[in-house]
Symmetry: C2
Subunit: 533 residues, 2 copies
């Protein structure tokens, strides 16, 4: 069963080898292990629902607890401590677009706030209800999780918006297709959530971001059912798809999603390469993507991420051999791991691999053992489980990410890492901070930073650590020329920083669109646009 | 000098061989040759300007004539007959964004309508002033035509919005880059116009549409200067670039455009293939694009376009040889010409060519002479000059285009061609109608139909022919599941049909955005959204 206070299914857990933990402890002293609340006692805290009865709405306390929080670090602390603050007043589980319409109508007539809920994997507070005088109805799309249509001629698949990643892929795979969208949250997140929050997957280099996949769909809005038809491309005015994308529940509830799918590739392979230093690694991947060498995945870990990943993966003897070998080849302390993939037909893959390796070689790159590429593919969705292990060892782990143009990548990364460290140092510790570049574009790339810090003496103190770090990291993004989020959306946590990116005029445009649909301010208020007090 | 009443520079004209004209005459009897108006007499018709004097504004009659019309067929008939109807009251030629701001301010204070003018190549009435009580100021961006900045690290070039295609390419080429945007209007159209009207170029398969190139820029709006920063990708809410794109002058005047550029390719080659029939040709290109074989251009002429192109190009002896050879190989009457290109490094091009040819072969395709691909590249921007030649022979030629999903392509093409024919037959002639598919996507493609019809006895009658044909063609698009324009924009001519594509809710969203910027309805009124009477 899905964990009520952590990531994933409780039948699965990851082990972190002793040597990995020792490595981390050598870098950073852990905090105390904080006590977990239990589910039953949290359910007892839930106040009485303020919703009128409706046959589609559950007021069950367990449902309300399970839909109160996403997967951000504050959500984690709330769930582990049992200090939730706010719960939705009820949860609905519609099975059709008509039922979504019925629910929106019911909410509108009664002045209820509405929060659309996909997989509940937001790391930016998208689905958290805020304290408010209006009751809150969460609409869980999880029962709209079927492949409704597949047009093989035009390669368009129609899904219920609540279809999670594994269902999307297994239903398409049966017909010989893939969507190719693999965000790290893939096991739990949904296709409607990907559209609403402009998600990007690990193989965006081949398949594009969700923006390139999203061909049309249905959003149930207070103004009626908004259907965007599938058209391959159009010059007819502003692109309305690009308004539904990233709407984060502020304009309506996405109920059906039509996506562009791709025939399953004949072959897919992943590889690891070590490059002597970060600048060389960055230059090599930039050259590859700017020259349109058709890889399907490309990622650069900086030196500390490279070391941390090798250590946390254990396999000490392999690491020692690897380090000896790499040092012999000139890849010493500053070495950076590049992971990349080729996906397609064999001849094309062979050529792409050869051309990519020739670039890496010019930058001093040497291929890692074949096993490393395979391991990456096997473990690609496992990172979120690490949080549980570190938590039990007295650590919090969190990530944040942005994207910027190539000429700003190094300085932006350095500024973000420094901001996190300085924020921790106020409290007397130096967070363990490392970064990778992924989602490569000719113009720039995303920068994804992970930081580990010790638990505080209390939950309140731990939350204070996080707040200071998050604020510092967000400011470093907002003060750069970078986006407040490349792939996690705005939610409530990033809303204060959106203006730095969009400007006053852009903010007014977005506000106008939101208000056009939602003149009562009932749709997911506080998300994307800060709540006006 | 640029022709005041036709396409291109008057130092260039195309010749159409006698045999080509004979072919056309065998299909369709020409109409009379209608008399041309002369420039001086048109200038004399221009009424007094209603604008207050301003140092940046010319009220010169010649300027006002030269900015009154675009390049649609109604524009052509207006220019050739001298019956213009409406002229702008003045034309400004700003040289900086600040001057554009000054001009917008001047217009706003005086309640003048504002029409931004790029290359004046619209075929949908974008830049035509309408009869109105408010004076009309046209802002010609032609003096903002420089490369302002080139960031080679992030491959972002910044141009003045009025930079025309050849200037864009020559300025980039000097640094080893290309934009790769080659619409048929390339010789005259501008980078700002491409953004404002969501243009697509002949090599969109490699370089993308202008949407994929447009990284950011400046629009001067009544709410202030709106600058969209360059960020490679973002999940932070609706994408504002996609609102500026296709804004068609309704929200402001685009003054600077930042685009993603690409290093010049090592090699570029174009080829011709003949496939026995249209269905096979369509299936073959669909297979290529759905399997991501990296070609840079791909185009299928239907059987009548294939025949017409071969005949109008002359070279009778070559054609006879070709037809004998192709007939021997099984490509008889229904044969369709596929033109395609590879652009990149030599090894990749060789593989792409081989893989594409292997698909064509499976569909019975045979390669045409090498000269044919070269000829296509040489003549790629010449088609608009053909209108002049046909006009002098008693014919009008016009085109329209759409895009739709693959499963609707054949029926949409047939419906469009039938609609044009039936519209002509009311008047006692059958237009010569042919079509090509281009701008291939995994989901579908664009459909581009050309039609030739005889001049009427008068300009009025010729216009009546065109109106009936355009209405019928537009209805066939609006009644299908296709866009009213894949690459020409909405303008005034397509505005009545936009609702069929966007729906009531979508239209209200667009209207809301326009009114947010332009509460006085002074910015290019009647374009994109029909004028409310």
């Amino acid at each position: 069963m899905r964990r009520w206070n952590g990531w994933g299914d409780d039948s699965f857990s990851m082990t972190t080898p002793e040597s990995g933990m020792e490595f981390l402890q050598s870098k950073l002293t852990p905090g105390p292990v904080l006590p977990d609340a239990d589910f039953a006692s949290v359910c007892e805290q839930v106040p009485e629902s303020r919703l009128q009865d409706h046959p589609l709405v559950s007021k069950d306390n367990a449902d309300r607890v399970r839909h109160a929080r996403g997967q951000s670090l504050p959500d984690w602390l709330a769930m582990r401590s049992g200090d939730f603050g706010v719960f939705p007043d009820g949860v609905a589980f519609p099975e059709t677009t008509e039922q979504v319409e019925t629910l929106l109508d019911y909410a509108w007539k009664n002045d209820y706030q509405v929060i659309p809920y996909g997989g509940g994997t937001s790391v930016a507070g998208h689905i958290n209800p805020l304290q408010s005088v209006q009751p809150v109805l969460t609409i869980d799309m999880g029962r709209m999780s079927r492949l409704l249509d597949l047009n093989e001629d035009s390669q368009i698949a129609t899904f219920g918006a609540g279809t999670p990643g594994p269902e999307v892929e297994s239903q398409l795979r049966a017909h010989g297709y893939t969507l190719g969208h693999f965000p790290q949250s893939w096991e739990l997140s949904t296709i409607g959530g990907w559209v609403a929050s402009r998600s990007s997957g690990q193989q965006s280099l081949r398949y594009g971001r969700i923006e390139q996949m999203f061909a049309g769909g249905i959003m149930v809005t207070p103004k009626g059912r908004w259907q965007i038809p599938t058209i391959p491309a159009s010059s007819a005015g502003p692109d309305l798809r690009e308004m539904m994308l990233g709407s984060e529940g502020r304009m309506g509830v996405i109920s059906e999603v039509q996506v562009r799918v791709t025939p399953l590739a004949k072959e897919e392979r992943f590889f690891a390469v070590f490059v002597p230093n970060f600048e060389s690694a960055k230059q090599s991947v930039k050259e590859i993507v700017q020259n349109k060498i058709p890889l399907s995945m490309l990622r650069v870990s900086n030196a500390l991420e490279t070391e941390t990943q090798l250590r946390l993966a254990g396999h000490e003897s392999l690491i020692k051999w690897l380090e000896r070998y790499l040092s012999f080849r000139g890849n010493k302390d500053g070495k950076c791991l590049i992971t990349f993939g080729v996906t397609g037909n064999k001849k094309q893959n062979a050529l792409s691999l050869k051309q990519a390796m020739s670039v890496f070689s010019r930058f001093g790159g040497v291929k890692g053992p074949a096993m490393m590429g395979k391991k990456w593919a096997e473990n690609r969705f496992k990172f979120p489980y690490l949080r549980e292990n570190l938590w039990l060892a007295g650590y919090c782990v969190d990530t944040f990410e942005t994207a910027t143009d190539w000429h700003r990548v190094t300085s932006q990364m350095e500024s973000m890492e420094a901001a996190v460290k300085m924020a921790g140092e106020q409290f007397g510790f130096t967070p363990h901070v490392y970064t990778h570049l992924s989602h490569m574009y000719a113009q720039g790339c995303s920068i994804y930073t992970t930081y580990v810090f010790p638990n505080g003496e209390t939950y309140q103190q731990t939350m204070a650590y996080w707040k200071a770090i998050k604020q510092a990291a967000s400011e470093s993004v907002a003060n750069g020329h970078a986006t407040i989020s490349h792939q996690h959306g705005v939610g409530k946590d990033h809303a204060p920083f959106l203006k730095a990116e969009k400007g006053d005029i852009g903010m007014a445009v977005i506000k106008g669109m939101v208000e056009h649909f939602d003149d009562k301010q009932l749709l997911n208020p506080g998300t994307m646009l800060e709540k006006e007090s």
